[in-house]
């Protein structure tokens, strides 16, 4: 399935899986490869590699009672299920890590505000049953927790539009331009990575766009059917923001107080500076969107290039200062005059 992370083969995971497989296969003679792979959430290739190992396993190498399991590529046959005593083939208890991984994820998903109520109830029931079955192994799961952020009402509308295949009208806030625009979108899927996003085909830009739900100012489900073109779903495991190589480069230098920039912005490089700061190089399709960053940084950093971007931040700051009272405005215009004349040299000195 698209977007499913590809895991490298790991002896621990494979052993865990094979132990469950023997229990499962014992009850289902002639099980189909396709069905078993789906039930176990693995690819058919992964399953076949397990089936290559199982005939080398048994309760005793010397006794000749290896598991006689084989497949013709379509079905799986176990010719000597008695090789494994009933006691060795019973479902195994959950390990602490397994209980933690499943319970923490289940609790997190159950807090998604837009989850359908029926699904939430089912998940809460399942969580309670797994907690009971895990017994003391469930204890450590309280040491991990995850909160998904999403805007309840917006989430529910997007979710409904996706399941009913209907188009959405939204008013959407773009922080880069500090403006709210209206657009019609054909929603494709909802993704929660820290924040919750809807991936959609935007009818205004005729392109695929990702919208953060907490930036949706208003939403309406339209009567028109949603008809997004067939698009390949991206693997989002590396993050939603994936700048392209051809995007213009922006270089920012920050002091120690601006090091957070490297945590929040995907970047090509971040080199240490002698004062404890960083020189960060990043790409964005629209450098003007970083004027906000330059303003926010204040004395903790500055844009090195492109120079037009640095200029626009300075201009915006001076314009803003002009609105404050007399002394401040004077100071601002004074600075304005000096810097206009000395911009190039100033740049060199810094």
């Amino acid at each position: 399935m698209a977007g499913k992370p590809v895991r490298p083969t790991n002896a621990i995971d494979q052993t865990r899986r094979m132990l469950s497989l023997v229990t499962y296969l014992r009850e289902r003679p002639g099980a189909r490869v396709e069905d078993v792979a789906r039930a176990f959430g693995i690819t058919e290739d992964e399953l076949v590699s397990d089936l290559d190992v199982l005939p080398m396993c048994g309760t005793s190498f010397r006794g000749g009672d290896l598991l006689d399991i084989d497949t013709d590529g379509e079905r799986i046959w176990w010719h000597n299920p008695a090789a494994l005593g009933a006691e060795a083939a019973e479902p195994l208890r959950l390990a602490a890590d397994e209980a933690t991984a499943l319970l923490v994820a289940a609790r997190a998903v159950s807090t998604l505000p837009g989850l359908r109520e029926g699904d939430r109830q089912a998940l809460l029931r399942a969580t309670a049953k797994v907690e009971a079955a895990a017994g003391e192994q469930a204890g450590a799961s309280s040491r991990l927790s995850v909160t998904f952020e999403s805007e309840g009402g917006v989430f529910a509308d997007v979710d409904r539009a996706i399941s009913e295949r209907r188009r959405l009208w939204i008013r959407y806030y773009s922080p880069a331009r500090d403006e709210v625009t209206e657009r019609e979108i054909d929603p494709i899927r909802l993704v929660s990575v820290g924040h919750t996003y809807v991936e959609a085909w935007c009818r205004r830009s005729e392109a695929r766009r990702t919208f953060r739900l907490d930036r949706v100012a208003e939403i309406r489900i339209l009567d028109e059917p949603s008809a997004p073109p067939e698009v390949e779903l991206r693997d989002l495991s590396e993050g939603l923001v994936q700048p392209a190589a051809e995007d213009p480069e922006v270089v920012v230098e920050v002091g120690p107080g601006g090091r957070w920039v490297a945590e929040y912005y995907p970047h090509d490089s971040a080199d240490e500076l002698p004062d404890g700061g960083l020189r960060i190089s990043l790409r964005t399709p629209d450098p003007t969107s970083l004027r906000r960053l330059a303003l926010r940084l204040g004395r903790d950093g500055r844009i090195v290039s492109p120079p037009e971007l640095a200029d626009s931040a300075r201009r915006a700051a001076r314009e803003a200062l002009a609105a404050y009272d007399g002394v401040e405005a004077q100071g601002a215009s004074g600075a304005h005059r000096v810097h206009d004349g000395q911009y190039g040299r100033q740049e060199q000195e810094l």
């Binding site: 052993t15 229990t23 890590d97 933690t100 998904f148 495991s237 304005h336």
Partner: protein, 349 residues
Amino acid sequence: MAIAKAERLMNLALCLLGTRRPLSKRELRDSIEAYVEAVRPGNGAAVRPGNGEAVRPGNGEAVRPGNGAAGSDDSFNRMFERDKDDLRELGLVIETVENLDGEVGYLARRDSNRLPPITLDAEEAAALGLAAKVWQQARLAGAASGALQKLRAAGLPEDVDPYEAHGALEPRIPVHEAAFEPLMLACRDRRPVVFDYRKATAARPEPRHVEPWALECWRGHWYLAGWDRDRSAERVFRLSRITGKVRTRSGRYTADVPDVVTVRETVASWAGETADRSALIRLRTGAGYPLRAKAGAVRELGDGWDELEIPYGHGLDAWLVEFGPDVVVLEPAELRADVVDRLRAVAKG
């Protein structure tokens, strides 16, 4: 070629689960092909690819007659101990029993390893299927799938394909921080740790000695709450600011672990989400939607400007400066001064 580790672990698990009496180390070694191969004389090197440890002959157990070099015994013992640990990680309860002759034996009793009866309907199964795939961290993704597979083996319904049933919703728990896994294990096992931590505004990292309590993911970032031994106080750390390796320390916790650990409240107050005061600003008409969304009161001034009352918490000055000339702070004076100060720094930049 050495026999694959998964095959060896699987055989050890099946032997321990299938036996009714404790099996001695020697019986296990003689029953499992991978061990037989490991102790075969002259074959020691073949089983240690990537192991790196030097074999020191004569340093292990007494050499048994006719049993090859002591080095083989050593490498078998190490392999056997690691394998038992790995199986225990998978949840197997392996008992160590001494028989009347003083010989140690091992077995995995069915009573202590059986999954208690659990019956889930198709809806509950589908919901768990969705939850099991949210982890983007290899160890937890593997553990969650493993849990689901065990439940599947125990009869979890398959009628609804969990990977398709919730097509619209794809929650993901991101884990990009290298410190996550060691800290998760330290929280689980209650082990003190030491790591280098760079505070948001500090140039250099400093070592911190911490008794880790809990990890929490908020807005896509992971945080650790615990007892900071150097400061003798509860602290919250952001995992992305941990530089270098997390090392565990021996010994017990010195501070009591609270019943409820509140990471989110602490982080929310850093993020300025807890405001105890309010501020009055002028905002250009049409601009600053997020400020409007937070505003308690909006008054249209009619000259292209609106007047807004907004919550005033930590970091508001930096946020307001982002809006440049579209925002003017009216009060309080302290916020006004902070904003002017920041604007001047940018104007001089």
